[in-house]
Symmetry: C2
Subunit: 279 residues, 2 copies
């Protein structure tokens, strides 16, 4: 496996960073994950746009432009002969001093790695459980995908212990926010609903695509603040995230979830888009 590290293509064994990298010391960085189909990272421009906004906020200066990263990612995919994969891009503040205050002079670290793609032939369906971890409802950091993700790791670990696949994250107001790895949608009557951003919710790329798809299909959408109990009245639940796309929820806190044919409709439209844009 070849890894892209700071402008070079290196072996996996050589893909290392200093123990003084601020990403390792403090989770002082950002990342993006995207699906590679037919050699092309799906919606890479949108992912890198979010990363750029995050880098602005964190005051990390990316060493390469989005265009350069797109070129390097094509080379990475070619060298590894992995046209069907998951691409992760990581940008950290780079090696720096001990102590939280960031140093304006530090040289950022940029990494791109490829990972096995989920099997398309093996469509997933997840069980969802409510996490005991709460995310802040008003957090200036929530629009950005930082590498400080211990809460998501622990929420997933807790779900796994209960035999579930995914964790539902509630914000400190007691409202549904998102899941450990994506955004939540629910079907209510003929409406496709999701939570509004800005209450602890990451503005997911796949979330935005699903809102696009609904418009294309003439499905009504609704961004709503909702309490977790109210999800029980939904006619279907699904998670959107970049690695797996659209993942129907089969059970929620141990109870079976109704399945709406609208979820299938959105899912096929998404898969069509994935193939269409990969040409």
């Amino acid at each position: 496996m070849v890894v892209f590290l700071n402008g070079q293509f290196v072996s996996e064994a050589g893909a290392v960073v200093s123990v003084n990298d601020r990403g390792f010391m403090y989770g002082d960085g950002l990342f993006e994950t995207m699906r590679v189909v037919n050699g092309r990272p799906f919606r890479m421009a949108q992912h890198l746009e979010r990363m750029t906004r995050g880098a602005d906020f964190l005051k990390i200066k990316p060493p390469f432009t989005p265009r350069e990263l797109e070129k390097f990612s094509a080379q990475l995919i070619g060298q590894n002969q992995m046209p069907d994969a998951i691409l992760r891009v990581t940008l950290t503040r780079g090696p720096g001093k001990r102590g939280y205050t960031p140093d304006a002079e530090s040289e950022p670290t940029i990494v791109m790695t490829l990972h096995a793609a989920p099997l398309q032939e093996n469509p997933v369906e997840w069980s969802l459980v409510t996490s005991s971890f709460r995310i802040p409802a008003a957090d200036p950091l929530s629009p950005f995908k930082t590498t400080s993700k211990i809460l998501n790791v622990m929420a997933r670990a807790e779900a796994a212990e209960k035999g579930a696949d995914e964790a539902l994250l509630i914000n400190t107001n007691g409202e549904v926010a998102e899941t450990a790895s994506g955004n939540l949608f629910w079907v209510y009557g003929e409406q496709i609903c999701t939570t509004p951003t800005g209450r602890g919710v990451l503005p997911g790329i796949t979330r935005a695509i699903v809102l696009e798809i609904c418009q294309m299909l003439g499905l009504q959408t609704n961004k709503r603040v909702i309490k977790p109990e109210a999800l029980r009245n939904s006619q279907g639940l699904f998670v959107t995230q970049s690695a797996f796309g659209i993942v129907p929820i089969a059970s929620f806190d141990g109870e079976p979830v109704a399945f709406s044919p609208l979820v299938d409709q959105i899912s096929s439209a998404y898969n069509d888009m994935l193939k269409r844009e990969a040409v």
Copy 2:
């Protein structure tokens, strides 16, 4: 500079971890920072105890016992000839798979690094400003010092932009919690007050020592929930943290802070303890 990495003493240039280390990918780790005086890390046992509790919670199996780490730290200090320093211990879940769910099989990474000590001859006094970042009031992770510290980094960056040294963190209930790098104490009448743990507050080692010292000195202590406005009525403010010890606050949100002689008394008792235990 020699670094301790996974049981070996390596050069700083060789002190590297995989880009697939979960610490680098997700802030999936823990750390401790302590003052080394006369070759001895101050209260290392208490720091490693907190790290052990954190490792239990995160289900990371430390590759060495606290006793072994104490022995290795003595060798590290000797090899670097740095009897007066700051020691950082980092424990992460080690190299692992992409995706939040932790793998029970992963082999943890353990690192110890030495850093320059603050100059004792140059006693610090900090200016404190209220952060715009809020920490969750009820967070099962707050008793542990994880490496997911982007909020602390950003709070410090925001403070630095305002020309201040330290950031006061308010919890999602609007109560005083802690500072970006330590715990907050205030003097009210003859009482030495601090926030109770368990409302987003890290149980600081130096905080516990100050409570010990107050008992020794016959000073009354009080663990109180307080709103930030009420801090203006205090007769003195100070931050406790492991690198700098006891740091008096000279100004809070631009206003000068009263200075209580009790802060000096506690500070000298702390410095005496630092020297006494280093023999």
